[in-house]
């Protein structure tokens, strides 16, 4: 269970003016709930993810993971619970290390990093089994450098890394923005499957209305730091892409810009 209690966040711009990005917000997310967050730029979507991950700290309020307050912990201290997939596939993996070494790093998230050779035969087998579940044939490429794989493959492997680390919360910040349609679909299908199987609390920010309509079981629409609509699984299943476009077009921010 991930809870926001009266969380607010504001930034001070260069002229000294206070810009409120997130108005006091209370909301909770439960396991195996795949929440998609949509909204115009600057509505506070990424701020929500950054607050959970610990890259930003809230002005006021509490963030609770399993009833434990985490808002004062630094990003690396929270990482045992929170895994993250970035928009840029290069950001989530280390290009200079092999796939296996990247997996080992992810696995070490909840372990102490000691002076022992961690990549043993049993570890290799365990990782290969995890990667084989993707059915992409990547299990034969574990000794290759991460840098030679494509963006889509790297994003999917980041997803595997998130599951290896046994985090409870999975944050995805436009993970498909840099991918082609086929890779995006592969990533989204794998993500939905893994979230359901591992009972993860998943939050994903997207600008892709198709993804927002087809994936996940909860939809948040954010505007100016306020949640405008919170659609549960039932209501979400009744809407489609066109409905979402129409919904956003009623928004004065969107009215002038044509969405095709």
């Amino acid at each position: 269970m991930l809870e926001f209690q009266n969380i607010s966040k504001s930034f001070v711009d260069f002229s000294g003016q206070k810009i409120s990005v997130l108005k006091p917000l209370s909301i909770s997310f439960s396991p195996s709930e795949f929440t998609l967050i949509i909204g115009p730029n600057g509505s506070g979507k990424s701020t929500i993810l950054n607050l959970i991950a610990g890259s930003l700290s809230p002005d006021e309020g509490h963030i609770l993971i399993d009833g434990k307050e985490v808002q004062k912990l630094k990003a690396y201290q929270r990482s045992a619970q929170v895994a993250r997939i970035f928009q840029n596939p290069l950001q989530g993996t280390v290009s200079d290390l092999t796939v296996m070494e990247n997996m080992r790093l992810a696995y070490l998230r909840n372990h102490s990093k000691t002076l022992k050779f961690g990549i043993t035969k049993s570890f290799r087998d365990m990782v290969k089994q995890h990667i084989a579940e993707l059915k992409l044939g990547l299990e034969n490429k574990t000794e290759q450098k991460m840098g030679v794989l494509s963006g889509g493959q790297r994003q999917v492997l980041t997803l595997v890394m998130a599951t290896l680390s046994r985090a409870q919360v999975l944050l995805m910040d436009e993970p498909t923005a840099a991918l082609d349609p086929k890779s995006s679909q592969m990533l989204m299908d794998n993500a939905s499957e893994i979230i359901a199987k591992k009972n993860l609390i998943a939050l994903m920010v997207t600008h892709n209305m198709h993804e927002a309509a087809h994936y996940g079981n909860r939809l948040l629409i954010l505007k100016n730091g306020v949640i405008e609509d919170d659609m549960s699984s039932h209501r979400k299943s009744q809407i489609d892409v066109t409905a979402l476009f129409n919904y956003q077009n009623q928004d004065p921010l969107f009215r002038n810009s044509k969405v095709s």
């Binding site: 990482s79 989530g92 280390v94 290009s95 080992r104 070490l108 998230r109 990093k113 000691t114 002076l115």
Partner: protein, 265 residues
């Protein structure tokens, strides 16, 4: 002949320094100027201990924590006080210059009759003994560094240099890793300074000047060699890679060493 043997010995004595620079420059992307100071630190500390008749093997070992201390100060200034890495290295290097003068009490200590881990020129078979000893030290250090980088901890170290964001997202404090890495790097550099002092028979306040340049040059030369040729030959094991670094630094230092030597003679 003696001239070339001496240059080979000096070249091998620079191997730990080249691996130390390799750690800071290649793995952390920090050109660590502290090297210039910690190299001299190793030399001056050994010279003072040798003149006080400390066992040379113990003295050589004691150099390691001293170098590590210098490196960790650079690391702390860089990570905690958020000073630019290059500048914090320069600060510590400058500070070490005064420290080294304070340690020696003068600018030069000759070690004519002092004991060292190398046997003296007057004994028979001294060349083979010294060559074997320094080869063993160089080999041991290459093996240790390549093994360290393959452990779980070494893995986090390699990741820190190439993707700090990701490392932080994986629950690793990059500041701690950076400080520890700089400590290890400078411990190796100080060891190298101590070996060079024992070979040349004196410690001098200016012997560290330009060491970081020699180290960076050998790392760059080895780098272009490994990325081009090793991939072609499909030899990509860690040990060959670091061995190659050591070898190239040796060749480079042989070249500088012979120049160094001819300047002295």
């Amino acid at each position: 002949m003696d001239f070339y043997i001496m240059a080979i010995l000096l070249g091998l004595a620079f191997v730990p320094m080249a691996l130390g620079i390799f750690l800071s420059a290649k793995i952390f992307n920090i050109p660590d100027i502290t090297t210039d100071g910690s190299f001299t630190l190793g030399a001056t500390l050994f010279a003072v201990m040798a003149t006080q008749h400390v066992n040379p093997y113990w003295a050589t070992l004691l150099i390691l924590p001293a170098g590590a201390l210098a490196g960790s100060i650079t690391g702390i200034i860089h990570t905690q006080l958020k000073v630019n890495a290059l500048l914090s290295g320069i600060l510590v290097m400058t500070a070490l210059y005064s420290c080294n003068l304070l340690i020696m009490q003068k600018s030069n200590i000759p070690l004519v009759n002092a004991s060292s881990i190398f046997t003296s020129v007057n004994k028979p078979h001294f060349i083979f003994y010294n060559l074997l000893l320094i080869l063993a030290i160089a080999l041991l250090i290459v093996l240790c560094v390549s093994a360290l980088l393959k452990t779980d901890w070494g893995l986090t170290m390699r990741a820190t240099g190439s993707n700090e964001d990701m490392v932080e997202a994986q629950g690793i404090n990059p500041n701690y890793i950076k400080t520890a890495g700089l400590a290890i790097s400078n411990a190796l550099v100080a060891l190298s300074g101590c070996l060079v002092t024992q070979l040349q028979g004196f410690a001098d306040i200016n012997m560290g000047v330009g060491i970081v340049i020699a180290g960076l040059a050998s790392v760059m030369m080895a780098d272009s060699l490994t990325t081009k040729n090793i991939k072609k030959c499909r030899i990509d094991s860690c040990i060959t890679r670091y061995g190659c670094y050591a070898f190239v630094s040796f060749v480079y230092c042989f070249y500088t060493g012979s120049g160094y030597k001819s300047g002295l003679c």
